[in-house]
Symmetry: C2
Subunit: 337 residues, 2 copies
Amino acid sequence: MSQDKILLAHGSGGKLTHSLIRDLFLQRFKNPILESLGDSAVFGIDKGRMAFTTDSYVVDPIFFPGGDIGRLAICGTVNDLAVSGAKPLYLCASFIIEEGFSQAELRDIVRSMKEAADEADVQVVSGDTKVVSKGSCDRIFITTSGIGLLPDGVEISPLRIKPGDQVIISGTIGDHGIAILSKREGLTFQTEITSDVAPLNHLVSSMLSEAKDAVHVLRDPTRGGLGTTLNEFVNNSDVGIRIYEERIPIREEVRGGCELLGIDPLYVANEGKLVAVVAKDAAERILASMKKTIYGRDARIIGEVVHKPRGIVTLATQIGGTRIVDMLSGEQLPRIC
Amino acid sequence: MSQDKILLAHGSGGKLTHSLIRDLFLQRFKNPILESLGDSAVFGIDKGRMAFTTDSYVVDPIFFPGGDIGRLAICGTVNDLAVSGAKPLYLCASFIIEEGFSQAELRDIVRSMKEAADEADVQVVSGDTKVVSKGSCDRIFITTSGIGLLPDGVEISPLRIKPGDQVIISGTIGDHGIAILSKREGLTFQTEITSDVAPLNHLVSSMLSEAKDAVHVLRDPTRGGLGTTLNEFVNNSDVGIRIYEERIPIREEVRGGCELLGIDPLYVANEGKLVAVVAKDAAERILASMKKTIYGRDARIIGEVVHKPRGIVTLATQIGGTRIVDMLSGEQLPRIC
């Protein structure tokens, strides 16, 4: 079965590298731009504003309920482009693989990447593979980068937030983090908790089509969770955000998992959710447009932008109190993405 | 001294991540696009042909004579863009760091990245940092991706190679691979062998300014070395390449190192060299333009494109024989880049 293992020579740049590229990556990601196999992908582009981003994915375990590192690596980067307001176009993927890693698992991961790329309607146009010796990395790390174009008139920035704006979350929070953690810790629940990992670009398109100018800021609350993302919106600004605990959608089993693990769901990573701050007068329309899409069907308005306290996120609790939601300090869940 | 160590929390997405970004990455890479700190970098772009590429850097050791993983990560991606004929514009950088890694070393690496980026005249506009637990990666891996624009009329492709074309190497071969290997193995030579790691975009600019249409193909012979790169040019094509051993520039100490290690310099990685195939009638002019630049001053014509044998690279040896230069098989030097 040694033929099923990734060898150091697969990363040498020589014959085995070429066969891995030809038989796996080209085969799977099949497109004319990738097939030219130059040192860079080359394609035509229109004048305009471009978004460019990168993320490394080191999730552990690499296969988890609802997804795997491959789907995560595509969706994560697609989502970073989408929440910038851009239409994602092209991705690159770079693999760091531990010697001895299973080629069958690599094929599964690459297939999953291709499926996610198809769903998001993006192409993987360039890549790289490095193999390191046994023990020099934990199985496989994938770094994806992506580019997209911003439609005219889209202006997504925390600077546009103003009092009265409504805060929308596209669905339940904490699913990804708790799915990973329960798999890692061997916890079982009556209903399996699955990751929400999904490409959000079509959801963003719907929102922008509905009311382009009214979408002030968007972000996907991954590491650090909803709590940290909301803080990023208002820290150093002269407005605050107030959210209402009772409105925040959260699955019963995720809530249970959080209680069991002693974790606040506000800080748990999501990989298929976005939080939007939108103009008040367009909020209901935008919400309705979200609810028509597969990844926005549980969207809810969970709060609003307030004058005071400035620079701070507050939570109105179910029992009638108010507490400050700070940025996550320390590491809650390592290698969640 | 524990404050000098990278902690898992530096990768959490929370407070420590934000302070690392603010105090190190923003501080160093300072530019308005990066400073907006959105999920993607956003910038204006002209209509045209774009090049997009990515590479992961896992070099061991991370500091070596002539450079470090940071300089390598910038130059490698700049060079992939440059040899596509593109003018590199923007880079993203993604870090995977082992828990406990020295913050001082990270600062050194980032400073070195900034210096290389300045030399290449590119900006680092977005990034990501993941921290994995002790033992889950070997110190630090960096993945960079980059975009650039291709000037009109530049057409770099192995498909353009034709018999009579001249093969040019921009300088001595094998310096990077032997520098890494001697450091790793603790070999010492009378003269220290230093890596050639350097950004080649200004060199490529000079060549294209001299005779844009005459530059048929360019590539930087990194992993797999000159031998593998030349094979990539002609494999599956109906021409061959013939090179002359006596014309290939190689430092005495590198030749000595190769002999000692039992390695063929034709397969040793370079990180500051390019090989070009150019139209015969423009070859001398292009060579002269290369020799005027810092990284092209030792450039030489080392061979030509021939009718036969097709699809194969042959080497005329110094003792008058001919041998086939195949693509590298197996792994010669793991983690060379």
